[in-house]
Symmetry: C2
Subunit: 462 residues, 2 copies
């Protein structure tokens, strides 16, 4: 395929001609596009491009495709498993300038937007219109990035994940073909579900340039509270019983006592140093009251302390800001450390067992590692705070992680509820879906035959 | 690939040896497996097989694959667009004997079952356990068939479609490979979403033999009602406002006056001959009351008559039985006629316009065709009652259908909300997803390279 006229140098010249100063090999920008927020070693791209439109992405893809240059879609770099790290060199395609909100349809509760729009930008845009977009992974990620990693977060126990909240996509394939998937109807049985195929594909099949997402009307009432428990078991059992009773809780987050300590220090709060649930209900005033009372009863039976329900926006904001700042709070707990966040998700019936065994394992492994999680979905993170230069500590972290994933899989769970596979969990994907991985590879090969779309991700041998 | 030793005759002998009397060429059974409940011409398979297990299906696939014999997965034959009709001959794989409910996990609210289990069988099994499976397309279809056509129905406005309610699958590929997709965790970001790929693939990529589905706790209160409206517009606007206000309604179904007439005659009821909404709320006693009252206000403002809310199971059953029997009621409205049910779905903001234009078009086209639909999703069916021997009437039906689909697509909708593409809508798939169909074909070719999995479905040239 590659001819003399299509050397990498020529391709870069063509990209420069196409994009002007939106093509760069500036070392600072290369370095910045070579890492994410996870624990994996950085590796810079050979160049960074900043498309302004789907049509720019199409032309970039055509040039890279002709020359066999890897393309790495990049949003704002908040991935945790190396999804944006150019493992095989190539061009980092930074979509953050494609940040137009193209249309908000209040009547249909949907919005069309470019993939570089961030979660916070979208919700600020929607604030005065009585609607919101619920998926909230904590980081202020781009919607394209969130779709690509099948992100979820604190609200997903009620509103679902990116899988449930994207109606359609515009995608640029490796060779520059542009296609639209899905549509604006709330449901469709028309052909293969390509939307779902690109969501969670981590940019290995194509580049998402536009999305149609679902919006939700702001509820009449929102009520939030924190509740401390005598022990971890009581907190987790409160979650399990709440979910099993079908109480439509919007958020139910667990922070263990190590995490609470970190949050108190970082956010200057004074929560009791105990395993704590952060909860939130959305609904009518009467509905929210009824649900809060039902959960209070469950918590009380499980050794929970007092609930201080609040419907005041300012108080709620303090509470969830503390939850959102967990990653920074953790880092501050051990200055100079690097974060390695695990991400298992298990059936709710096994959650208490899994969390308790894991907490025991952390202590036995002599690791500093708070637990925090979207426990309503059975998903929790162990946030290991590591000195990467300490070989012994890293070895203990690796061994712990192996045991954690094995434990979750044995319980019918998954190695990743929301962070994805990236570079970091490729072997875990084999462990979890060994019989399905060959089929995934067949699809990868069919859709990206020259393996230029974010190579080195998802699969060990790709 | 095909050798002398692998002629079709040899393959059939091998199937007979494998399955005994569960392999048949009995003409009655062939005839029965050559048609569905839709309007398309039947075409019998060459043989029918009745596997008892995934392992049977694997062996059947190996034999058929070697000889290039088309395989047509068959549940109970309730498809509407010819999905089970053997368009290219071959073997109909009747999965109805694979009807074991393998495990019900009440704590995790999920169940594992074979794909021949029917919707009603599952819910009867669950009845005394306080849980239920919500997806309800009307027909007593198999869960495998419902997954394959991405079915939905009356409850989907609250509980979602098959896309939202299947956690994992066991699938036999064309060459006999068996693989598992998804799992029991409520969410996962581990690799491509193969579960979603097989849901709605209409058996063209593989044969679903087992499913893990989501269950829901029975709510404390269920309240249902019918409400007649002065005109169609008022009924549809009530739906639109209810959805836009985010009232969590479980069912909201529209029957126009022609449909009500059919229902009254067939089910010996006496609803007023007016456009009517059938509604249902699920929740706490207080919540259901609150929601019913909110919708009553909306209906009142739109010319709705009195609501007679009932929480009595017997009264609810009469109401929904009438709704479920709509297809039979329609047939009885014009004895000897054949049903052709359309299935467009549009963004809710365009629903009133779409329904009203369509009703006008039906009348102008001189067709007998009630309208009934899952209007909360923007989805409605025009149930054309046709004398297939009347060429002029058939021509008017075809022309009407073209206009209907064009109207829905122009409004940002889809040609099929829940019935699928099958044989009947292959050109509509091109109209709707012309730029994505080549990618779908690439996937089809990669996963079923010899085109033996339900050929002649979805794609015009396949």
């Amino acid at each position: 395929m590659s001819t003399a006229a299509n050397t990498r140098e020529v391709a870069f010249t063509q990209l420069g001609t196409l994009l002007g100063d939106r093509f760069t090999t500036n070392p600072t920008l290369l370095e910045q596009h070579g890492r994410d927020e996870g624990h994996l070693a950085p590796s810079p791209p050979e160049a960074v491009v900043f498309p302004n439109s789907t049509s720019d992405v199409r032309e970039i893809a055509k040039i890279c495709f002709k020359c066999g240059i890897p393309m790495i879609p990049y949003g704002v770099g908040t991935s945790l498993e190396g999804q944006v790290i150019p493992a095989r060199g190539g061009v980092s395609i930074d979509l953050s300038r494609m940040d137009r909100i193209l249309k908000v349809n209040l009547q249909d509760l949907d919005a069309q937007l470019e993939s570089g729009v961030t979660r916070r930008q979208l919700n600020e845009h929607l604030r005065d219109q009585g609607v919101f977009f619920p998926v909230d992974p904590g980081a202020n990620a781009t919607l394209g990035g969130m779709a690509s990693t099948r992100a979820s977060g604190t609200n997903s126990v009620l509103y679902g994940t990116m899988r449930d909240n994207v109606l359609g996509l515009t995608v640029v394939m490796s060779d520059g073909r542009v296609l639209k998937t899905g549509g604006r109807a709330r449901k469709s049985a028309a052909g293969y579900d390509l939307t779902a195929l690109f969501i969670g594909a981590e940019g290995t099949l194509g580049i998402i340039t536009e999305l149609t997402v679902r919006l939700y009307g702001r509820q009449e009432a929102i009520s939030a509270a924190a509740c401390a428990f005598a022990d971890l078991e009581g907190a987790v059992n409160t979650v399990i019983e709440t979910i099993q009773m079908g109480i439509p809780i919007a958020r139910i987050e667990l922070l263990d006592e190590v995490q609470i300590d970190a949050v108190n220090r970082f956010s200057k709060l004074n929560y009791p140093l105990k395993p704590t649930l952060f909860l939130e209900f959305h609904g009518s005033t009467a509905g929210v009251k009824e649900q809060s009372e039902a959960v209070s009863v469950i918590a009380d039976e499980n050794g929970g302390g007092e609930f201080n329900w609040t419907t005041k926006e300012e108080e709620r904001r303090v509470l969830w800001r503390a939850r959102h700042d967990v990653a920074y709070a953790c880092k501050a707990l051990r200055p100079g450390s690097k974060i390695w966040a695990t991400d298992v998700c298990v059936p709710i019936s096994r959650l208490a067992e899994c969390v308790l065994q894991t907490r025991h394992d952390i202590d036995q492994s002599n690791l500093i590692a708070p637990i925090v999680g979207h426990v309503g979905d059975g998903n929790f993170h162990v946030v290991m705070l590591l000195r990467t230069e300490d070989g012994d500590e890293m070895a203990r972290a690796h061994a712990f992680n192996e045991r954690l994933v094995a434990r979750a899989l044995e319980m019918g769970g998954t190695s990743t509820g929301e962070h994805g596979i990236g570079i970091g969990k490729r072997e875990k994907l084999m462990q979890e879906h060994g019989d399905a991985v060959p089929l995934m590879l067949t699809i990868k090969q069919a859709l990206d035959p020259t393996n230029v779309m974010n190579p080195g991700k998802l699969f060990v041998d790709c």
